[in-house]
Amino acid sequence: MTGAEFVPLSLTPLLIGIFAAVACALPGNFLVLRRQALIGDAISHVVLPGIVVAFLITGTIATLPMMLGAAGAAILAVILIEAIRRLGRIEPGAAMGVVFTTMFAAGVLLLEQSDTSSVHLDVEHALYGNLESLIWLDATGWASLLDPQALGGLPPELPRMAVTLLAVLLFTLVLWRPLKLSTFDEGFARTMGIHTPALGLALVIVAAVAAVAAFDAVGSIIVIAMFICPPAAARMMTDRLETQVGWSVLFAVIAAVSGYVLAGYGPLWLGARDAVSAAGMIATMSGVILALAALFGPCRSRTGAPQQG
């Protein structure tokens, strides 16, 4: 494939896919170790009704109202989860399960019942995103990367996802020690003067920001997969957190690239005529990586896990 084909058609979706995958995988490491991985799942589900309501109110799919709607829905979900957990005296996982399935269902219902035919907002979009459509038609080849006029035509999802990734990266690097310590030993972290409840909330907020930004570009399937699969696979490759996070980033990138390529060309190689969903294939590849790590990773045994009984 030449630059003239690759740059306009494949470069931007590939980069957006990679940025989204890494932005979700980074906080995913801590969520998985804190046994909170389901939060990513919950967030990516509950934002749907928020986005639909934002559309019904404003009548457009502009970025700001969508983001506000998503954020409002996420806050409502957190409040509902806390309320159900306390009033019902049940564990947080169960409360989350009730809230996010209900809110997602409400979102789908709203979407089906309202007239969204004029805009690109439907159930399929919510699940799979529209990665393949995020093309850069102003580009004519690699030289366009230096052409200000062509750069102006970049899909807005690309800079948005890049900024999100940068923010997630900064959060992870600057607060690395408090995050690591409070995930491993919360009581000890408190005695060091770390405000662990605030830090835990900050982690969930960062995860939510990554989820909402990625949801907009690539749909909820990738978000759910990337919060869990790369970190879980990485955990089985090493016994050091620093190395684990490195592996998770590598796995996220591999899943994004291989998923995108396979979605475009895999069916052709198999003799079929159409490509399959890139987001779906990226999520599938992350699952394949997890399965391979679970089968062959060097650190699979849970030596230090608490005894069940």
């Binding site: 491993f184 408190r190 005695t191």
Partner: protein, 268 residues
């Protein structure tokens, strides 16, 4: 039992010993839900001594320690460390949590855990240098774990894990050491290693407070005891405060026959 009563029963912070005590607690009440776990407790830890916190299961021993450290929020009461509020004196406190409270499957190595004791000093971004690693290794050597530095923590025995936690507390280079059940479920060699480190800390003039459950070793290991059963029962030197009467008051009918036998032997 109202909140006002809990506060009223606590003394004010002007009484004797408060200025010099490494850890002074006044009128501390902690509650999980309706029932108080610790009720209106005063405690004045003696400097340069080893103190055992003793009481039956569920008597609030760990809760008292956690509230003193600011890990759990008390309903009322005050904590002073060397005569000042806890927040200003955090650097002078080292803490060893209960081993069972940790996920030992966490991806980290022994040396990394000890280095966590230096996080306060390192701040957010300062690089870990050779000097820091050397200090961490010295702390590991003090507990006899220097050969395990590169091991994943889940691969250690319970006693070895406890010693690594003690090494992390040593790395904190504090003036007061608070340990929550450090002898629970450890082997005899570890118990000996830990008590010898604690005694060497005392010899350096440090203050040691231990939540302890083995009544038979109290007289051997400790200078002072603090008996608690939600309320304070007794506080003072072992010879005065650790008696049949105070134990009866703390444990009531809950002191098992085996424990009574053990005690009879220990107390002679």
């Amino acid at each position: 039992m109202t909140l006002e009563l809990a506060t009223a029963q606590g003394q004010t912070l002007t009484d004797s010993g408060i200025e010099t005590s490494p850890l002074a607690i006044r009128g501390l009440t902690v509650s999980y839900g309706q029932k108080p776990a610790v009720f209106s407790v005063d405690m004045t830890v003696q400097p340069g001594a080893m103190t055992a916190i003793i009481g039956p299961n569920g008597a609030g021993k760990s809760t008292l320690l956690k509230a003193a450290l600011g890990i759990v929020k008390p309903l009322s009461g005050q904590v002073q460390v060397f005569g000042q509020p806890l927040e200003q004196q955090r650097a002078r406190i080292a803490y060893v949590p209960q081993r069972a409270s940790i996920d030992w499957d966490f991806p980290t190595r022994v040396i990394d855990v000890v280095l966590m004791g230096l996080y306060r000093e390192l701040g957010l971004l300062r690089r870990i240098r050779g000097g820091h690693r050397k200090r961490a290794m010295e702390c590991l050597a003090r507990v006899g774990m220097q050969d395990f530095a590169k091991r994943q923590i889940g691969q250690l025995s319970g006693g070895q894990q406890q010693r690594v936690f003690l090494a992390r507390a040593l790395a904190q280079a504090a003036d007061i050491y608070l340990l929550d059940e450090p002898f629970a479920g450890v082997d005899a060699a570890t118990e000996k290693a830990i008590i010898s480190v604690l005694k060497s800390l005392r010899a350096e003039g440090k203050t040691v407070v231990v939540v302890h459950h083995d009544l038979a070793t109290v007289a051997d290991y400790f200078d002072n005891v603090f008996l608690i059963n939600t309320r304070k029962i007794a506080e003072g030197p072992v010879a005065e405060a650790f008696t049949a009467d105070t134990l009866q008051a703390a444990y009531g009918g809950r002191l098992a026959t085996a424990q009574v036998d053990q005690l009879a032997r220990a107390l002679g």
